[in-house]
Subunit: 349 residues, 2 copies
DNA sequence: CTGTTAGCGCTTTCAT
DNA sequence: ATGAAAGCGCTAACAG
């Protein structure tokens, strides 16, 4: 079924059929009807591949995520899909596992397929290969990881405020030895969060020791290792702040295995507020970020960039965060408080 | 950067460049080297779109999932990606939310883009539109939902055995009033699970009442509604079996809100064994299925189908299941047993 | 072994 | 308002 078949079926030129189908204004009403009818009857569908070759636009978007099985990212993808589906666009979703080689290979594959744009969620933004691709490829929007020294479209959250909220909460509960589990790589987001941690440590004159910082990998398993390491320190931290919820969940698991109670023996705070955090059995105190909205905002901005303002000035969207206080934080050495879970106590900056 | 530029750069015909780059055996070694060198220097990459138009193969695969934020499906996608990435193929992942219209729209979009094959995870397989697409489209592999009356490539699990394992476990614990939360639509998997439930009910002469079956939608929220409904029945079921883990998690949340203890007041069993189920705070007894392997098997079979044996006879892969007994099941009216979580007790058929 | 040529299915001038 | 023709970038006959 090609456009030629339709043309034949209604004895018109292919160009006329093309014009009719793509809604050109100067096609006679009667002709358009005839074409439409024939196309429907033959259940003709234009080849998106041929269209892409001809127009060098594919109505396709590429999305790179570090790990599709992590709810943070799958909810962002959902937000992207929300807005792109309405526009009749399709998504290539690629899970890079944080590996730079895989990211590069996928970026090439996507661009070879003429994607109209790219959304990079927490991906590598530096290195010759990646920068070359970015600079010569289609429009893109970055989520949660900027490229240093570049002003480009970016969607993220107020990492600093989120960390301060979390830290202040702990300080108010009397914690002085607060450990931190950072992310796996040096990225702008990780730096912002880590920076805020250190700032508050300094400001509030809290314990500042190298052994109070551990590098995780954003997985539950990594969080367990981190938790084991941190909880075996002497003296032991009374609170552990994790750079994401998976790490925090791992810490809690490690704590339980080691016989510590959360929050009586150690307070734990996560970051992201994935749905697991609000389960009644879990009730993880964590910093909330609007994952679905973040995805939606990135998609909207990308659409804008693909369309009219290809060369507008870059736009940064920074979403505010909230601290959702649940049941994994309590006064230092309290042995008491268990938070309510009927309703979160929400702290905003 | 087109193949023409490369040809010019090394004063050869485009066809020779094409042959050299695609590894045709009859290209002179020296020529191949020269071409390769020029291509590298110009950092030439062939247009996948042009290749697809010409060869009508795109080295892309379309994957349809009901909900990308559900770990069951994202882990299957991961398994698919494991095997497809190695082959240099890209994945279109589409989240259909169980909506038939969205599924149809995505299937069309995918086929318009010349995907070489489709993997349908728990998708609609009936209805004129969908059957027409299936019958005229590219090769496909079905996961967890067959098309009735057709022998086609299928990857699934032994639903019947899983349900029997779960039911027998409950019967052995002395439960006689066992409720069931079924899936949202009538699909072969749902029917298999529901069928096994009813069979055991009959075989063991357990309570068989319409109000002991509730239709969920595979979400936590749906599970909560189901749990609320079921736990308000008089007499109350002593155990609730859910068709998936999300539903079971919702039941537990509902139970807690209503003041029931799990498993003392009511036992709960899930299905899938998502990673949440094994968290120490959750310890959900559930039927395990190898999600990643299932995805991998589907991808492997699709590759086979795309390659040599386009017309081989259909292959069905049925993975065995295991019951992972954790802490949400206990003897009826026991008020006692709390399962161990250091090590699952694994029951196999 | 290398080059010439004919499309793949579509859109887009440019004539008519 | 419609049609003829060129060409997007590539591969596969086929000729040499």
């Amino acid at each position: 079924m090609t456009i030629g078949d339709v043309a034949k079926a209604c004895s018109l030129a292919v160009s006329t059929v093309s014009n009719a189908l793509s809604g050109k204004p100067y096609v006679r009403k009667e002709t358009r009807r005839k074409v439409q009818e024939a196309a429907d009857r033959l259940s003709y569908r234009p080849s998106a591949v041929a269209q892409a070759l001809r127009t060098s636009r594919s109505s396709t978007i590429g999305v790179l995520v570090p790990d599709i099985t992590n709810p943070v990212f799958s909810w962002m993808v959902r937000g992207i899909d929300d807005v792109l589906f309405r526009e009749g666009r399709s998504l290539f979703v690629c899970s890079t596992e944080g590996r730079e080689d895989k990211q590069i290979q996928y970026m090439h594959a996507l661009i070879d397929r003429q994607v109209d744009g790219l959304i990079l969620i927490s991906q590598h933004t530096h290195g010759d290969d990646i920068e070359a691709i970015l600079d010569n490829g289609p429009p893109f929007v970055l989520i949660h990881r900027r490229r240093r020294g570049h002003k480009e479209d970016y969607v993220g959250i107020d990492n600093d405020a989120g960390m301060r909220l979390a830290m202040n909460h702990l300080v108010e509960l009397g914690h002085r030895r607060i450990a931190f589990i950072r992310g796996p790589t040096t990225s702008t987001s990780v730096e912002e969060r880590f920076g805020a941690y250190r700032t508050v440590i300094a400001e509030a004159r809290l314990a500042a020791e190298a052994n109070l910082v551990f590098q995780g990998d954003y997985t539950i398993e990594g969080g367990m290792q981190a938790g084991k390491f941190l909880l075996e320190q002497v003296p032991r931290p009374t609170a552990i702040l994790a750079a994401n919820d998976f790490s925090a969940l791992g810490v809690i698991e490690a704590a339980m295995r080691l016989g510590f109670r959360v929050p009586e023996d150690v307070s734990v705070i996560g970051y992201d507020d994935i749905f697991i955090a609000r389960m009644p059995q879990v009730q993880l105190t964590t910093v909330y970020q609007p994952k679905r909205d973040i995805g939606g905002a990135a998609a909207t901005q990308l659409l804008r960039r693909i369309g009219a303002l290809r060369r507008g000035r870059p736009k940064e969207v920074i979403f505010p965060v909230e601290l959702h206080v649940r049941a994994t934080t309590a006064p230092a050495y309290s042995g008491s408080r268990v938070g309510p879970w009927e309703q979160d106590e929400v702290l905003v900056p």
